[in-house]
């Protein structure tokens, strides 16, 4: 049998690797580094998962729009009180304080044929800036922005066909009281 008997000529690198103590030091340092990476990864993953919040802004905006539609249209007809400067908060049983802080609602009346603003009066309440913020949030697809929903309902005012456009938005956020 042919025996290979090659002698490795130690250079700077191999000489260092042949040193057992130096090798052990490298391995332990490397192992420590691996452990730190694993620990940081697991901790970050767990913290990210448990600190993320459930976003129900769109659901709330839908609920708000639905509530306004419910009180605006009674038995298929438009509630006339809406057109007579009635207070939307008392008419739709909405909490003024909360709406003006974290919500937005706008009701517009359009001519069904010309699609122009038919009725001069627009009903709006809450933080009006949310309408623009919703658009920005949609473009940026980022958190922290309000979420809006839009509905169009055909109806009739004084024998004139109209379209009622309702935009509702929410930027409501929960609070954790750790005291």
């Amino acid at each position: 049998m042919l025996k290979l008997n090659r002698k490795i000529i130690p250079n700077k690198k191999t000489r260092f690797l042949q040193n057992k103590k130096a090798m052990e030091f490298i391995m332990s340092a490397w192992w420590f580094f691996v452990l730190v990476i694993i620990a940081v990864g697991v901790t970050m993953g767990v913290l990210m998962f448990y600190s993320s919040s459930v976003d129900i802004k769109e659901l709330e905006a839908n609920a708000l729009a639905g509530k306004v539609i419910d009180c605006m249209i009674v038995n298929g007809d438009l509630n006339k009180a809406f057109l007579n400067n009635a207070d939307i908060f008392s008419l739709c049983s909405l909490n003024k304080e909360v709406i003006e802080k974290s919500f937005f609602i706008r009701v517009s009346f359009y001519d069904a044929n010309s699609l122009k603003l038919n009725y001069p009066k627009e009903i709006s309440a809450g933080v009006l800036a949310f309408e623009r913020d919703c658009e920005i949030g949609e473009i940026k697809n980022a958190g922290g922005y309000p979420k809006c929903v839009e509905y169009s309902i055909p109806s009739v005012i004084n024998d004139k066909e109209i379209i009622i456009k309702i935009i509702a938005g929410s930027n409501n956020a929960g609070v954790r009281d750790d005291k």
Binding site: L35, I38, A39, V42, T43, V46, L47, Y50, S53, V54, I56, L59, E60, A63, L64, G66, K67, F89, S90, C92, S93, L94, N95, K96, E97, V98, I99, K101, S102, F103, N172, G174, V175, R176, D177, D178
Partner: protein
Amino acid sequence: MMKCFIDDRKAVTQVLEVVLFIILNLIFIASLIVFVNRAGSSSAVLEQAYTKELAVAIDMAKPGTIISVNIEELAKKTGNSEKSNLINFRNSRISVGKYKYSVFTGYDIEVCAVKDSGINQARVYVHKNKEEKRLC
């Protein structure tokens, strides 16, 4: 004889090194498992989920609605023996444990703890106004 003794000492040291290495690794893995387990058993996520579900349900509810919530799991996780204090409604805010969330409904909300067929529940009553008869 002397050489054998020296060899034995070397072997023991090597075995000790390996054992120590394994023990330290086990401690590291155990501490990671404990951390993940603790984070997972925290009631924070559950409180948030209950609060938001209740908030949407209240916002959509009409007067006369009764919302029943099974709070057995929640009470167990929060370790709250005072089940009547687990869900509250104050200043237009529904709170479950330490988590609070505003609701936009203008109706009056009443919350009470009840025990129905041995199950701890929270009942949320939606009243048209404050003058309406309390049901708790």
